[in-house]
């Protein structure tokens, strides 16, 4: 066996470039698997541990003002383990050196004990002294974004008056792993901060002594969550309870979930592509090798090596290639995975990171790689196994070329004989040619998949913010106000146009489906906050009934004309029925809109507004910001233009890394496919090509035979790759669809073009590397040896 193993090493070192090309393709698959599964597990474990250690709650509810005594009753609900009641208020911040107003959320910390739920991880400093309304803890990213150290000061408008606050502690919270400000699409730590203050101090500021407006619960193991939520809703309803919800509707948690879902999708979609391509490469390379080594195989059998011994020799060869791929892939995947997990930790603000190095992932990688390689080599291995030793001593019959292309056609006669040779080669093995094209098309598809998100997200932003929600900012009152309050806002400097709005918390029910969704009241003929129909054309809001977004329609199984039960969770808390009168397009969140007058009438209690969309004159922006920072009636501000800019920047940053990875991956696939096919063609037609050289054809002319075949294959791969890429993109977006956002599938022509240019260039380079061998063909040797 030792000598046979020596042959193995020599064969490997002779075939190194082809073996490496295959191993690299395998490595991409393994790397993606290790990366995605590793990051998925690390992120999941980290989140779970963080939630456990810092006691992240499981059920959440808000009220306007509930008495402290209620907590005892809530704690008595069957299945409830722990209750934490606190005060949470939105605040407007005024930070020295910051042009625009920031917003924040101020949360109470119990005075003489640790919170039992949603505990803080203290990075620095201490908790505020009980009763001190000027000492606060802030979240770390907010502090970092402003360069705040312990002792730094900033101002906040709290219950109508501006107060100066001093930072005594910096912390992280399991509730705000992903801290999204009002109206923001991605976290912007500069414009949104979390502020913790002593409970008694905060209660004093908001006249909430002995009361709370925010609840967190943890349940006993095996508790019926739905039943708990129902009973909780009943208990807090009299106190302005706005509907309890579980973790899956908690914004921070839901965003983490969607991130985890993306990793899971990645680990399931991408590796199989690479494994498929590598299996195909193993197939063509091993088939050719076995064809070339027929006589050696026959000899080994003739001298007494068993058929399995000989087969295992080739099995070892592909196992070595696969293991090389696993080795490279596991190393790269681990490295990238650490990078990605760290990126996550930075982005999401975890206090610690649990790197998961699950040996099972690596075992899985070894398993699937070997499986793919063996599957790819199965045909060739079977022929090794079954090759009768006597037959192996005879050369195989030359391939029969069919006259696919008639020489009599004028068009064909115009082509040179060399081009026709290329065509015939291509058509002699149509399946292999097609599979080669398919393999190369994966390279194109991956690139489309990598780049299309820019197109789709650009389109989503354009539709959502240039055509639908066209305001520059939305100002939220601290409390609901009569419609006249809009007048005060309209007179602010720089406000060009203003549209008052009212949002009411509600639970919508249709059959057995129900959902907490706020209903947005919009004025008739709204021009800033517009709705778009399914073709993205502006829509007139119906005078009565609900207009619901397509996604809400799907969630609640609603169609135009269906009756919906609306349970208002504020105001007079009416329960009414109203029909769906319109279905519109919306890519973000769950949107239900209604004509404002109709909403006022349905909810009862007279007309009210709580916010206003505004169009702003840029020239007076500073003056406007300055006024807002000192306006007691304003609770929070959503600066849409900044939010969109931040969204674009974050997405670009996040996609940039994956684009870089995918470009390398697709170049590797293109190289692996083209290089190996070219080598195999050279090996198959070496004699023929050398004969052409002997007949006096130049290297460049002979190259045309190879180039015709390769070129046609690579060209065929382009449209195939576009199609596949479009399909992959569609599947990916379907997988990412969530209540938070749905991305429309848009692929710009330039994306297809870029994908093709990259793949064509990579193919050209790999073909050139092989063509250099054409110049080195040993004419005499080729002609002397028998085929």
């Amino acid at each position: 066996m030792r000598t046979l193993d020596r042959k193995l090493w020599r064969d490997l070192s002779r075939l190194w470039s082809q073996a490496l090309a295959i191993a690299l393709v395998q490595a991409c698959g393994v790397a993606t698997l290790v990366l995605a599964v590793g990051s998925f597990q690390s992120l999941l474990e980290t989140r779970t541990a963080y939630y456990e250690r810092y006691r992240f709650a499981e059920v959440f509810a808000q009220a306007t003002r509930a008495p402290q005594q209620l907590t005892a009753q809530i704690g008595a609900i069957a299945g409830v383990a722990t209750v934490e009641a606190r005060i949470v208020q939105p605040v407007l911040l005024d930070i020295a050196g910051m042009r625009e107003p920031a917003t924040g959320q101020v949360l109470s910390l119990p005075d003489h004990r640790q919170p039992v739920l949603n505990r803080l991880f203290m990075r620095q400093g201490r908790t505020p002294q009980p009763g001190r309304s000027d000492e606060v803890i802030v979240n770390e990213s907010f502090a970092q974004a402003h360069g705040f150290q312990l002792g730094a000061r900033f101002s906040a408008i709290m219950n109508g008056s501006k107060r100066e606050l001093q930072i005594v502690g910096i912390a992280l919270s399991p509730e705000f792993v992903y801290a999204l400000g009002p109206g923001d699409l991605v976290p912007d730590a500069r414009r949104f901060g979390l502020i913790w203050m002593s409970e008694s101090a905060l209660a004093g500021l908001y006249d909430l002594e002995g009361a709370f407006n925010d609840l967190s619960l943890r349940l006993l193991r095996g508790a019926n969550q739905t039943a708990v939520i129902e009973q909780l809703d009943q208990l807090i309803a009299p106190y302005g309870g706005a509907g309890a919800h579980a973790r899956d509707e908690h914004p921070s948690h839901a965003f983490l979930d969607s991130e985890l879902e993306q990793l899971r999708a990645m680990s399931r979609v991408i590796p199989p592509i690479f494994l498929l391509v590598s299996a195909f490469l193993v197939n063509i390379v091993l088939s050719r090798l076995v064809a070339l080594e027929r006589e050696q195989i026959g000899l080994l059998k003739a001298v007494g090596y068993g058929r399995w011994e000989v087969t295992s020799h080739y099995l070892k060869l592909i196992a070595m290639i696969a293991l090389l791929g696993v080795l490279i892939g596991a190393a790269v995947g681990t490295w990238l995975g650490q990078g990605l997990t760290r990126l996550y930790a930075d982005f999401f603000h975890f206090p610690f990171l649990l790197f998961q190095r699950d040996p099972l992932v690596y075992l899985l990688a070894v398993g699937v790689s070997l499986l793919a390689a063996f599957a790819g080599g199965a045909g060739a291995l079977a022929s090794v196994l079954n090759l009768p030793p006597a037959v192996a001593m005879r050369p195989p019959a030359p391939p029969i070329y069919r006259r696919w292309i008639s020489g009599r056609l004028a068009a064909v006669r115009a082509l040179s004989q060399l081009t026709i040779m290329g065509f015939r080669h291509l058509l002699r093995w149509p399946l292999r040619s097609f599979l080669t094209a398919l393999g190369a098309s994966f390279a194109v598809a991956l690139l489309v998949l990598a780049i299309f998100s820019f197109d789709s997200i650009d389109y989503m932003i354009e539709v959502s913010f240039d055509r639908a929600e066209r305001q520059d900012a939305t100002l939220h009152f601290f409390q609901e106000a009569p419609p006249a309050a809009a007048q005060a806002l309209a007179q602010l400097p720089g406000v060009l146009q203003l549209e008052p709005a009212r949002t009411m918390a509600a639970r919508l029910r249709h059959g057995h489906r129900s959902r907490l969704i706020a209903i947005q009241g919009r004025p008739a003929g709204a021009d800033l906050g517009r709705l778009l129909d399914l073709d993205h054309q502006p829509l007139r809001l119906p005078e009565t009934g609900l207009a619901i977004s397509e996604h809400v329609a799907k969630l609640l199984a609603l169609r135009r004309g269906d009756l919906v039960q609306v349970e208002f969770l504020e105001g007079q808390r009416r329960v009414v029925e109203t029909p769906v009168t319109e279905v519109f397009q919306s890519y973000f969140g769950l949107v239900v809109a209604m004509d404002q007058a109709a909403l006022d009438q349905l909810a009862g209690g007279g007309p009210r507004i709580d916010s206003a969309r505004v169009l702003i004159d840029d020239a007076q922006l500073d003056a406007l910001y300055q006024r807002i920072k000192n306006l007691p009636v304003i609770g929070t501000v959503a600066l849409q233009r900044l939010a969109v800019a931040q969204f674009r920047a974050t997405i670009r940053e996040n996609i940039a890394m994956s684009v870089a990875i995918y470009v390398s991956f697709s170049v590797i696939i293109a190289f692996g496919i083209v290089y190996n096919s070219a080598r195999i063609q050279l090996s198959l037609h070496g004699r023929e090509l050398a004969s052409l050289r002997v007949l006096g054809f130049q290297v460049g002319e002979v190259a045309r035979v190879l180039m015709t075949e390769l070129g046609l294959i690579v060209l065929l791969a382009q449209p195939l790759g576009w199609l596949l890429g479009y399909g992959f993109a569609w599947g990916m977006l379907k997988g990412f669809e969530s209540d938070l956002y749905r991305i429309p599938l848009v692929v710009a022509p330039s994306t297809f073009a870029i994908a093709s240019i990259v793949v064509l260039s990579a193919s050209a380079v790999s073909a050139l590397i092989v063509l250099r061998r054409l110049g080195r063909l040993d004419l005499i040797a080729v002609l002397k040896t028998r085929e």
Binding site: L4, K7, E295, L299, K301, A302, Y305, M393
Partner: protein, 238 residues
């Protein structure tokens, strides 16, 4: 010597039919043949006559369609693939027209390939010395001439001290001078080790070195000829 020697191979009524699609080729049509202990037999005949088919069946590379083949007390006809592999490994040395060396192994390694799976082999170096190649141990096939490659193939065949040496046109790809060196190596092995040797050829001149000549044509043994006037390989030429 042929009179009293023990038979090594006995073939009776051996036929071989190849089917490729519609066409049936009767390569052997009832061959009776015997090879005796220690003899050097030349199998002579025109191309396509069935010589290789016969040799492959004797060597356990192929099985007859009908008839019996016995090697000493092993029944080869009807043996399983495993048994045939075992038989080739333990008893037979092959030499082929196109040498069939493994290009990625050196001369020494090509021989070691076989000695590693043999029960009582000689050292690869010793086998190569017997064919005068002890100065070419670490050369790869591509660095050797055709004659040298064929002598490596002979060294590979004899290194396991086989009981029989089956050579299919060993000089077919060689010029006369090199061919004779190869035949010298084969006759030397036959004489020194007493290995029963069968050499296929279509070259009539070569029959002069044989103890016996089996004339094969059209799938049958047309004629058996005992050669009373054996000459040394060095004395013939073509």
């Amino acid at each position: 010597m042929t009179d009293r020697a023990q038979p090594v191979f006995v073939a009776r009524g051996v036929t071989k039919v190849y089917r490729s699609g519609e066409v049936e080729v009767h390569a052997l049509r009832g061959v009776d043949a015997t090879l005796y202990e220690g003899e050097l037999a030349v199998i002579l005949g025109p191309s396509g006559g069935g010589k290789s088919t016969l040799l492959n069946i004797l060597g356990g590379l192929d099985s007859p369609t009908a008839g019996h083949v016995r090697f000493r007390d092993h029944q080869l006809s009807g043996a399983t693939e495993r048994e045939l592999t075992r038989f080739r490994r333990d008893h037979v040395g092959f030499v082929f027209q196109f040498y069939n060396l493994i290009p990625s192994l050196t001369a020494r390694e090509n021989v070691a390939l076989v000695t590693e799976i043999s029960a009582d082999p000689m050292a690869p170096e010793e086998a190569l010395a017997m064919v005068d190649l002890d100065h070419r141990l670490d050369h790869f096939p591509a660095q050797l001439s055709g004659g040298e490659q064929q002598r490596v193939a002979i060294a590979r065949a004899i290194a396991k001290r086989p009981e029989v040496l089956l050579c299919d046109e060993p000089t077919g790809a060689l010029d006369s001078k090199t061919g004779i060196k190869v035949l010298e190596a084969l006759t030397a092995v036959n004489e020194q080790l007493g290995t029963t040797t069968a050499i296929i050829t279509h070259n009539v001149e070569i029959r002069r070195i044989a103890h016996r000549v089996l004339h094969v044509a059209d799938g049958v043994i047309a004629r058996l000829e005992v050669n009373p006037t054996r000459v040394k390989a060095s004395e013939i030429s073509w």
